[in-house]
Subunit: 432 residues, 2 copies
């Protein structure tokens, strides 16, 4: 069999991991898997990385054109990140009829149709297992392992930074800002953590997974994303008292009428929920198939070697496709199709809610709060008023029975008009 | 593309699920996956099942030869179970150059080399995802999703009957025999539960997984299997007091020197271990890859639709292979190779141990027990003597530091020679 040659663009954290796996397992791929796959070129703007990595006989350079113009290379691994140069790398490679493997979730979530269109036009494929869930084979499980199922729902903890912060807030009673600072100091959070803590990173992954599940492109912009910055020590304490934990969840639900409910926000989960025990930097994806029932994948969602492991899984898949002479094994029509998938507006969802009011400690407040809930036909499951704070405000926690988001929002908007409200009201959706 | 035609042998529980998925998802496979796959023949000795199932236009009969002699059928799905007729079905199909999909763990574990040899000779493949872990894509994850890793260890709860019994013993303080009887009455346990509760079913699955991981055939007979019949209410109580639970685990560890440690036995797990929260009929597989770190798969390990889901995953994989003209995508050389894999004898393992003695309440016993442990250089981590039983015996629980199984066995053999021992000593390995 002819040698299958790969070029790597970006030898940073994940790219470095890929170089290491090629160095360690290349012989195994050749002999045990009978796949003569070899990493022949590595491109990175920082030449220093070539010294630190086991590049073996790969030709190292700083110019992507060295890979692009090498006609012996049939697989390009894009690990530069971002959506500008990375997009150019991917499209240029596809237009040169090279298969592309990427870990770039933003690129797929925001530019999927253009990319898969280019792949289709050139008779090559784009694999992106590492874009969702690091080392866990999430995309492979949905597209192959569970192919006999309609996936009814996905609930996922898929951002390690948020989960690390929330886990430490719960375990140690720390405030959000304090944990974030420490996480940044230790390298567990980015210097600019906006995309993580704002929910955008989870949103990218939810956009990708919901597109695959719904069979049509769902752009990132359509995913409702609420981050974890408003989760306070008060919320943590209340959750603990009530037997809940708080997690940032990506949620996808296929509704009956060809509409998808896809969103990202903090949720309260009962502590005996299987996702409640996913702690620190670990990630998990809970899939519900119509035949298989619940299937959970759990593992490291990020990091050098875990993500490189997912990239290598794609490399081997693409190499097997090339070896078979059938480059597009898994159709990606849903990214190319014109099929419009409707996204359920977040106002339309229903569920149970945790609502925390900070109000003045004066007569009539409780009666007004409950009256406003009653006006919106929201049934209250439990209500607790806690002792006065130092500033003489009090905390009132309401847990509702199943209500519509629209009603909850209307009730709170009405309540927040009142003078007795001392702070912005906190709402956290409860997921059963 | 030419229609890819499948025949099903055995339309019982799992086979019935496969018929249902073909009926429900056939259109999807044809249009969205562009795979013209169709179930054209169903064979079962009980004609009644054909009435109960959505067989559509499949030709139903009671004679396997109807499938065998149909040259338009390229995939045979064997779901009859057992290793006699099932083996004939599989070998006959392979020798007629038909691909085979099976859920039959005993067949693969006991006759793997013969089966894969026949597949090789005929240029066709054998897929067996459903043989391990029901609906969880375990084999696919190891062979494809984690292909960039050396799998260092597997720890798995993979028998639903045992896990159901142990979970109820813990949750409700019930005795083994009582739960087993109730489980049988409810259909959660077989009328003859020997293979489940004796560990043999877990052993078959461990044999299959360890063969894949080690890259060489490991026959079922070489797997040390100890079941759960000796786990008593006393053990449950002690485990709970100590912060442990008891699970039947399949364990595979790649040791440094090309030897595999593969075994099945009850273990004590700390209650905060991720596998400790796998309850009732659920299964889980905890894989440790050298790159990816820990990856857990969790789901239903048995049942009509969960197992059928895994079978369908294989059907689609094989159909994709046929469509690509490359029938053997995943090499199965390790089942065919002459490579001898050495299995670590259970006497050679080391670990921590829970040992429960039932001894006469008389002077000198504790001193003799501890002396025998000392003679074998076993370091005691904790020792508890509990209050006298009605029969005047007492329970002594010893938790050891890391010791060799050989030393533990030697110490107990010596101790059991003494008159003060009232009952057989219970030993449960502790897994960290």
């Amino acid at each position: 069999m002819q040698e299958i040659r790969a070029g790597l663009v970006g030898a940073g954290t994940v790219g470095g991991g890929v170089v290491k796996i090629f160095s360690k397992k290349g012989g195994y791929f050749n002999t045990e898997l009978a796949l003569p796959i070899r990493l022949v070129r590595i491109v990175d703007k920082d030449r220093g990385c070539f010294e630190r990595l086991p590049v073996n006989d790969a030709v190292c350079s700083t110019d992507f054109n060295d890979i692009l113009s090498d006609d012996t290379i049939s697989i390009v691994i894009e690990l530069v990140g971002g959506t500008t140069f990375a997009k150019k790398v991917v499209l240029d490679a596809l237009n040169r009829k090279k298969h592309v493997i990427t870990a770039n979730k933003a690129l797929i979530a925001e530019h999927g149709p253009e990319i898969f269109e280019a792949a289709q036009n050139n008779g090559v494929s784009v694999y992106f297992e590492a874009s969702v869930g690091g080392g866990m084979p999430v995309i492979k499980s949905i597209r192959e392992g569970l192919v006999g199922n309609a996936i009814k729902s996905v609930k996922t903890i898929i951002n390690g930074t948020c989960n690390y912060i929330l886990t430490r807030m719960f375990a140690e009673g720390l405030a959000f800002d304090d944990v974030l600072k420490e996480a940044q100091a230790r390298g567990y959070a980015e210097a600019d953590p906006t995309l993580d803590i704002g929910g955008g990173d989870t949103g990218h992954k939810v956009a990708i997974l919901s597109s695959i599940i719904a069979g049509g492109y769902i752009p990132y912009e359509k995913i409702f994303c609420e981050g974890i910055t408003s989760v306070s020590k008060d919320d943590i304490e209340c959750a603990q008292e009530l037997g809940y934990t708080i997690k940032l969840l990506g949620i996808i639900k296929q509704t009956d009428n060809h509409t998808v409910d896809a969103r990202v926000h903090p949720v309260m989960l009962r502590t005996d929920h299987i996702l409640a025990s996913v702690s620190y930097e670990f990630n998990a994806v809970l899939l519900e198939g119509d035949s298989v029932g619940p299937v959970l994948l759990y593992g490291k969602g990020a990091g050098e070697m875990a993500t490189a492991s997912a990239v290598m899984s794609d490399v081997i898949d693409v190499a097997r496709n090339i070896a078979s002479g059938h480059p597009e094994r898994i159709p990606m029509d849903y990214y190319r199709s014109q099929r419009e998938i409707e996204i359920l507006a977040v106002e339309e969802i229903t569920g149970r809610y945790y609502v925390r009011f900070t109000v003045a400690d004066q007569p009539g407040v409780l009666s007004d709060l409950t009256e406003q809930f009653c006006k919106q036909s929201i049934s209250i499951a439990s209500l607790v008023q806690r002792e006065q704070h130092e500033d003489e405000s009090v905390t009132v926690i309401i847990l509702t029975h199943s209500s519509s988001e629209r009603s909850i929002r209307a009730a709170i908007a009405e309540i927040e008009k009142a003078d007795y409200v001392c702070k912005k009201t906190q709402v956290i959706r409860i997921e059963d």
